[in-house]
């Protein structure tokens, strides 16, 4: 009845803009999963024996595990035999240069606003690795990065070229036994991004991976591994979209970050997988394991995420604070609209002395969306003088959505200082009226209020992406009032 509701609905109802399908020939395995499929994936990738073995161990372990159901999300049972575990654009070999990439693929990325042609890149400040279905199709600026010793390439390429690095670091942050989805990923992952920043190098540009699911009935399982050697710095951005499809698709990725002494990794995600339609039909199940390891002293890992897509998000980018004086940060905006569900948060595990962590979580719920923050702050006995600050804010638009907060704290050292603040608020009719009285349309008013609510997180994003994130939020909320 009130105009405020109307504006919120309009804003929330804006449609998903990346829902197109690219018509491209692909090499797809028939649905189903068994040891032969795992071996076949490994063979497709021409992997060394240690990788095949690792995958098989993961697969066998996965068989012993049960799907977890503790998250505050609800969905019908997933039939893991109904998905295909490998789909790749048909290219006889990995293209050696961008000129060899299928023009259809380049068009797809251009449509998404991700130009892969290097000369078109944002004045050379971002290098992109594009992953289409499960295969990395193009990596830009490789040469330039190589000249300072940075390795940035497809995961499968890294397995071929730098097997010693893979063997040394793979699974050391998220072991194949870690959890149901991580084990599944370890068995069947097809590609992803790999990045190594050598000692003392400050990566001169943003590195970015852009994930796109295209094929129907395929699960997407990528793996990202980033190693920042002593004293290095890297800022990494991940973006994701998928076509609009009626069936749900599973996305179970694993991201491992390793920061050695004095190294700093900044990892930003703008996740915009297809969220399903207004009735909750279709959409991606995004069950992702992301973890960073501040392995040595004075290292720092920051996660910043803007989660607007997916039917279900189940994701807790975490930091193991092992080195003394290491720092972990988590900044998150999660928006759920229509029938989207998000259970997201972080784990900060304080092990080293004087370790610090900061958690800022902003949850926005609209429509029938359900948004949960779930966080664990664990201070081990060894963590003298550990500090944590947590702030969780929830903003509700409309009266049929929900916001939930599940903070867990385990403190085993008396010198620890742990702070937790939480608020829940609603965009009020008064706030909207005030903005309208000053001349703003209802839609602009909602967008302004929501962006203000998220400001603390947006300012952590690299500039170009902060702008992108604001726009995305506007789109995801379009029609939310009404």
């Amino acid at each position: 009845m009130t105009p405020s509701n109307e504006a919120i609905h309009q804003l929330i109802d804006q449609e998903y803009q990346h829902g197109f399908v690219t018509d491209i020939e692909s090499d797809t395995f028939p649905p189903g999963l068994n040891e032969d499929v795992v071996r076949a994936i490994s063979a497709k990738k021409n992997e060394p024996a240690f990788m095949t073995e690792w995958r098989l161990k993961a697969y066998r372990h996965w068989l012993t595990m049960k799907e977890p159901h503790w998250a505050h999300v609800h969905y019908p049972k997933i039939d893991y035999q109904a998905s295909s575990y490998y789909s790749a654009p048909k290219l006889s070999d990995r293209p050696k240069s961008l000129d060899e990439v299928d023009p259809e693929l380049l068009k797809t990325y251009a449509k998404l606003g991700i130009p892969l042609k290097e000369q078109e890149m944002l004045a050379g400040v971002i290098a992109v690795d594009a992953v289409f279905d499960s295969v990395s199709v193009a990596t830009t600026f490789k040469e330039k990065l190589h000249s300072v010793g940075i390795i940035f390439c497809a995961f499968s390429e890294a397995v071929q070229k730098y097997p010693e690095l893979i063997q040394q670091y793979l699974g050391t942050v998220v072991p194949y036994t870690d959890n149901f989805y991580a084990s599944l990923n370890s068995a069947v992952f097809s590609d992803g991004s790999f990045c190594y920043i050598p000692k003392g190098v400050r990566c001169p540009m943003e590195l970015s991976t852009y994930f796109r699911i295209n094929s129907a009935m395929t699960g997407q399982f990528e793996r990202t591994l980033i190693i920042a050697d002593e004293g290095s710095y890297v800022s990494y951005l991940e973006g994701c979209t998928a076509p609009r499809r009626d069936e749900h698709q599973l996305h179970a990725a694993v991201v491992e970050l390793i920061a050695l002494k004095n190294a700093h990794i900044k990892y930003s995600t703008v996740q915009n997988w297809y969220p399903g339609d207004k009735e909750g039909k279709g959409g991606i199940y995004n069950f992702v394991t992301k973890r960073g390891d501040c392995r040595e002293d004075n290292s720092k890992i920051s996660w910043t995420q803007v989660e607007t897509g997916s039917a279900i998000t189940w994701k807790y980018p975490s930091v193991l604070l092992r080195g003394n004086n290491s720092i972990g940060e988590f900044y998150s905006v999660a928006l759920t609209n229509n029938y989207q569900q998000a259970d997201t948060g972080t784990k900060m595990i304080h092990i080293g002395k004087n370790t610090k962590s900061t958690i800022v979580s902003k949850g926005i719920s609209a429509g029938h969306g359900q948004n949960s923050y779930r966080g664990l702050v664990k201070i081990l006995k060894s963590a003298e003088n550990a500090r944590n600050y947590t702030r969780c804010d929830t903003l509700l638009l409309g009266s049929q959505c929900g916001g939930h907060t599940f903070p867990y704290m385990e403190v085993k050292n008396a010198t620890a200082k742990v702070e937790h603040e939480a608020t829940t608020s609603k965009i009020g009719e008064t706030q909207l009226f005030y903005c309208q009285q000053r001349g703003l349309s209802e839609e602009d008013a909602v967008s302004m209020i929501v962006n203000g609510f998220c400001k603390q997180v947006f300012r952590e994003l690299p500039m170009e992406f902060a702008v992108e994130a604001q726009k995305l939020l506007g789109i995801s909320l379009e029609g939310a009032i009404g």
Partner: protein, 246 residues
């Protein structure tokens, strides 16, 4: 400028305004006084287009246009400003950003280009000086953590920047100390000229010592029971509202 004809308004079946007639000409300053619950704020809200009221009868013309058919933002674009009794807080949105967005929304509605950022900042800072406002207030979140007096000053700042042809000021004087009252009055008088009209809603005569009204109306139980010049306000101060109700 503004013409209210026999306006009747209900909220949840309860009649709040019962036949208001009021004409404000360009350049005039009117004051509406009255006891709590007489319908003063309802009148201001109706004029600005707030939802939740049922207009059972009457019409309002603003510059000849039927005001009641316009959205709140359209009324704003047409030059109507409401200074809120309780200004709203918007965390994370800076004061200056909000002000600029508001001004540009108005300019856009009038087919004017967006304001130049530097010119805008200079203009805002000038007006802040007049209102004796601290400069860093423009970078703070809108009204968040502002004191009562700061919020009211900020309302007047917005008014001066948006430069409306009709300003409705709903108890802008309440909760202010003597100095703040004087400064606010200075700001309001700054808007006053032959084209701009002002409707002051207040409980007290003291604001009218600083802003001389052309007309004073007393609202009681949803009706204007008496109108007059400033002498009416003095009389009220002396005798109380009980006097007009008798």
């Amino acid at each position: 400028m503004l013409e209210i004809k026999n306006l009747c308004v209900s909220v949840e079946q309860k009649e709040i305004l019962r036949g208001i007639n009021l004409v404000i000409k360009p350049g005039e300053v009117h004051a509406i006084m009255g006891p709590n619950g007489s319908g003063k704020s309802t009148l201001a809200n109706i004029l600005a287009g707030r939802a939740g009221y049922e207009i059972t009868h009457g019409e309002i013309l603003f510059d000849g246009k039927d005001l009641l058919t316009l959205l709140p933002e359209e009324r704003s674009h047409a030059g109507l400003f409401l200074g809120f009794q309780y200004p709203v807080e918007i965390p994370g949105v800076s004061n200056i950003y909000f002000l600029k967005a508001a001004l540009n929304a108005q300019r856009k509605a009038r087919n004017l280009p967006e304001v130049d950022a530097m010119d805008f900042l200079t203009m805002v800072k000038d007006k802040m000086k007049l209102l004796e406002m601290d400069e860093d207030m423009i970078y703070r979140s809108l009204n968040e953590g502002f004191s009562g007096g700061e919020k009211k000053r900020n309302e007047i700042l917005q008014m001066l920047v948006l430069n409306p042809s009709l300003a409705l000021l709903d108890e802008t004087d309440s909760g202010l100390d003597i100095d703040a009252l004087r400064i606010i009055a200075l700001g309001i008088n700054g808007l006053r000229n032959k084209d701009h009209s002002i409707l002051l809603i207040t409980h007290y005569q003291r604001l009218l010592n600083y802003i001389k009204p052309d007309k004073v109306h007393v609202l009681s139980a949803g009706k204007i029971v008496i109108s007059g010049g400033q002498e009416l306000a003095f009389k009220l101060e002396e005798k109380g509202y009980g006097w007009v109700e008798e």
